[in-house]
């Protein structure tokens, strides 16, 4: 039988909510373990002295992408039943830019802000409050920017379709770029980072 075993839990099936909680706990655990609950560490990404964000994020993406590919290849995962984020070219580019600026100023992203707040970091709490305000502002302004918000839809467009390559080759390219990035990151950190932290 192929997974996913059960649907998205549209109406709060207790089973799927238990999964949600466990998944979230594991996610938060690893984020904190990697140091991503620390805004200074995260901001260090943009000053080239601590590229932890890049390393963690892309290791995660590569792991999951390889996992998805191989599970699907062996027929254990039905890709067509995984919810894929839809592509909207302009709003996602613009939103990305806005998000990146906010990320630099605040030093935490939505997920890591919860980790920070839960570790007692007051800046994390301040950031969460800010995000609620920002989200509300968006909601109130949505009628005005709905045209842009819904522009350039491309459905569930994937990189392999854009590049016109097979999924496997696309995954390969992704991994290759990530590995090259990791090698570069190590060298950059050695040059620009001052004093590395003890790591296991």
């Amino acid at each position: 039988m192929s997974v996913p075993f059960f649907e998205l839990g549209a109406i709060g099936d207790p089973r799927t909510l238990s999964v949600a909680l466990l998944i979230g706990i594991a996610f938060g655990w690893f984020l904190e373990r990697g140091g991503l609950g620390n805004a200074r560490k995260l901001a260090g990404q943009f000053y080239l002295n601590d590229l932890t964000v890049f390393k963690v994020m892309f290791s995660a993406i590569v792991t999951a992408a390889l996992g998805v590919f191989w599970l699907s290849r062996f027929g254990w995962l039905d890709l067509s039943r995984i919810v894929m984020p839809p592509t909207y070219l302009a709003p996602q580019a613009a939103g990305g830019i806005v998000f990146g600026i906010g990320f630099l100023i605040g030093g935490l992203c939505p997920g890591t802000s919860c980790v920070a707040a839960a570790s007692g970091r007051l800046d994390g709490i301040a950031l969460i409050c800010g995000m609620l305000v920002g989200v509300l502002a968006f909601g109130e302004l949505l009628p005005l920017i709905a045209g842009f918000y819904n522009s350039t839809p491309r459905g569930e467009l994937s990189l392999d379709q854009v590049l016109n390559l097979s999924r496997g080759v696309t995954v390969f390219l992704l991994v290759a770029v990530a590995l090259a990035g990791f090698a570069a990151a190590e060298r950059i950190e050695e040059r620009f980072g001052h004093g590395a932290e003890p790591q296991s």
Binding site: M1, S2, P4, F5, F6, E7, L8, A10, I11, V62, T63, L66, F69, W70, S72, R73, F74, G75, D78, L79, S80, R81, V83, P85, S166, R167, G168, V169, V171, F172, L174, V175, A176, A178, L179, F182, Q199
Partner: protein, 183 residues
């Protein structure tokens, strides 16, 4: 020490990636099941499409409580033993999960051609036929779509209503809304 371990991890990732490039598609030979949306199924039932079988895969008590008109109750276990003529059309639905898909795969493997899954399962029927909320018609196309939906809904004893504002007009959108956003 850390460097060695990193190198090993990189080697594992790299090998899996190279194999992926060689493996190519990443999709096993999956069975393609047809899909029908709730409004189209409603038309099929209303127009008495010949050879149509609507199968409800849920448990008996739920079936008794409400089911799509003309549907028959067959459980997933029983489906394997049920036989259909090759020219007949079978539409399968449950209430979420992959039950309908599994039943569909079973029937396809047995050689039945016209197997369809009701997109959005029972929810779509409830949302599109029994209790549709239609946006105010701002174009002839929308007017036609509303009229069609209203007619079908009333045929099955549903209660259509009209709202101003952006509301889903297809089962896909209704289910998306039902499922909550994913990010």
């Amino acid at each position: 020490m850390g460097l060695n371990r990193n190198r090993k991890l990189a080697a594992v990732a790299g090998s899996l990636a190279i194999l992926a490039a060689l493996a190519g598609d990443g999709r096993s030979q999956s069975i393609d099941l047809g899909r029908v949306d709730a409004l189209t199924l409603a038309e099929w039932i209303r127009d008495r499409r010949p050879g149509l079988h609507v199968i409800d895969l849920r448990a008996r008590p739920e079936f008794e409580q409400f089911h799509i008109p003309t549907a028959g109750a067959v459980s997933l276990d029983e489906i394997a033993a049920t036989s259909f003529e090759s020219h007949e059309t079978v539409v399968l639905y449950a209430d979420g999960g992959d039950v309908a898909a599994r039943a569909g795969v079973l029937l396809r493997r047995r050689g039945l051609d016209q197997v369809y899954l009701l997109t959005g399962d029972l929810y779509a029927w409830l949302d599109q036929v029994m209790n549709p909320r239609m946006p105010v018609a701002t174009s002839p196309g929308q007017q036609q779509a509303n009229a069609r939906q209203r007619e079908l809904s009333q045929y099955f004893g549903g209660q259509p209503s009209v709202f101003s504002g952006s509301l889903p007009t297809s089962a896909e959108q209704a289910i998306k809304r039902l499922r909550r956003r994913t990010c």
